[in-house]
Amino acid sequence: MDTHEAKVYTALLIAAIIVGVVIAYFIFTIVIYHRKHIALYKEKVGAEIATLELERKRIAEDLHDDISPFLSTIKLQMNCLNIQDEDDEKILENNNKLIDDILKKVRETSNNLMPAVLVRKGLLYAIKEVAETINQANGLKVILQLPAEPLTLSDEQELHIFRVFQESLNNCIKHANATEFLVEIKQHEKDVHILLRDNGKGFNVDTITGKRIGLGLNNIINRIDLLKGEIFQNIQPGKGVAYNIIIPAKETSNG
């Protein structure tokens, strides 16, 4: 190389280094800001979900602890009335039935908002209870493959998994035209594996972006993210929907 070529080469080398540094810095900042953005997003979603669950719990408690006793008291007092007239007797009877229906509805709503069995007995019993209700009432058959022993999950983890199960089951009932819904839960040493699968019509995941159907699915992903879990899909049109979920188990103390 002569002196001129050497100068051009030096300029080129410096230009190449500058281009490299600029691109590398650009990607580096993207990664850093993405991490910050994700942390903030998770914080926001976590707060939203926590607020939602608190509100659900409060409304469920209000319905169960305030409205139900009031209605029961009204029913009791109505039954203490000394009615002679036959027409009035019939009205009283109808009102008793109405109050029973309202009480039943209040219990159902309260239970949907925050299942008492989930709070008292845990995730496996809550899933069993929902499955029994669906199997009695619907054309859908819920098949359960659950472990005999309780899961090593915290109450919060169990609540989020239950909501994911509810969301997935609701989607199945509303959209899938499925005849079977399988829930399989396996406890491993370090994590819990959950399979939720239906034999319905499935859908094309690539086409749901930005549509309303994405809201419920986003809710599922957000809850799994909160649990630091992973969710894998096997969804194809005509071949049903399957979610494989892996949740890290609650750390148990050795001492």
Binding site: V8, Y9, G20, H34, T209, G210, L217, N218, I221, Q233
Partner: protein, 219 residues
């Protein structure tokens, strides 16, 4: 063999590491990533053919020109597989048809396979740069975990860096400064070093190609 030749050989065969990972992980990884695996295998095959060709015929122009077509089709196929989630099927087919058409015009009509030409490569590299940026942006709005462990992000970032350098290099050759052989040797050496690093990063990306389809939506 001086140190520059050692670096050159390392750079040339570093794609072999990616190819080996591609062969080993072929059946395990998601089918959507297979074009990338084929790309790695073909790149390594091309390096072997190039070395042999240079040894026996003194040039690797023919196989290199054919390889650029195969590479562009495989890389576009890979982008198409990723683009399915963005519903951009037609875009990649149109780009593919245009690129193949341009390759035929340049290497079979205007020039020949025995000639070195830059127009096709410059167009191909710039298209890949834009597609890589598009993919990087898509990953950023969908990935909820660390993007550095997302092979799609890594591959797109590596393509962005690698093909930016290649595009600059091709433009440089296209201008033709009438400089000495030694000058061009040093210019190419810059690219060789970049290529070595990029291939090592590609190996990392190949190791991180997912085996199961993670469920994710834009947030």
């Amino acid at each position: 063999m001086n140190w520059q030749n050692v670096v050159k050989e390392c750079s040339v065969f570093s794609v072999g590491i990616v190819a080996i990972i591609a062969v080993v992980r072929y059946k395990k990884v998601l089918k959507a990533y297979r074009p990338f695996l084929y790309f790695a295998m073909f790149a390594f095959l091309n390096e072997i053919i190039s070395e042999t060709s240079i040894k026996f015929f003194g040039t690797n122009t023919v196989n290199y020109n054919i390889y650029t077509l195969v590479e562009s089709v495989l890389v576009l196929w890979q982008f198409r597989n990723w683009g399915l989630q963005q519903a951009k099927k037609k875009l990649y087919v149109i780009i593919g048809v245009l690129l193949v058409g341009l390759w035929i015009v340049e290497y079979l009509v205007i020039h020949s396979l025995h000639e070195v030409s830059s127009i096709y490569l410059i167009c191909y590299y710039f298209i890949l740069i834009f597609l890589s940026i598009d993919q990087l942006n898509y990953v950023l709005i969908t990935e909820r975990k660390d993007v550095l462990k997302n092979s799609r992000f890594l591959i797109s970032a590596i393509f962005l860096i690698s093909y930016t350098y290649q595009a600059i290099l091709e433009v440089f050759f296209y201008i033709d400064l009438k400089a000495s052989q030694a000058f061009y040797h040093y210019v190419v050496f810059i690219f060789i070093i970049v290529n070595l690093f990029m291939n090592l990063l590609l190996a990392l990306a190949a190791l991180w190609i997912p085996t199961k389809q993670r469920f994710t939506l834009p947030y």
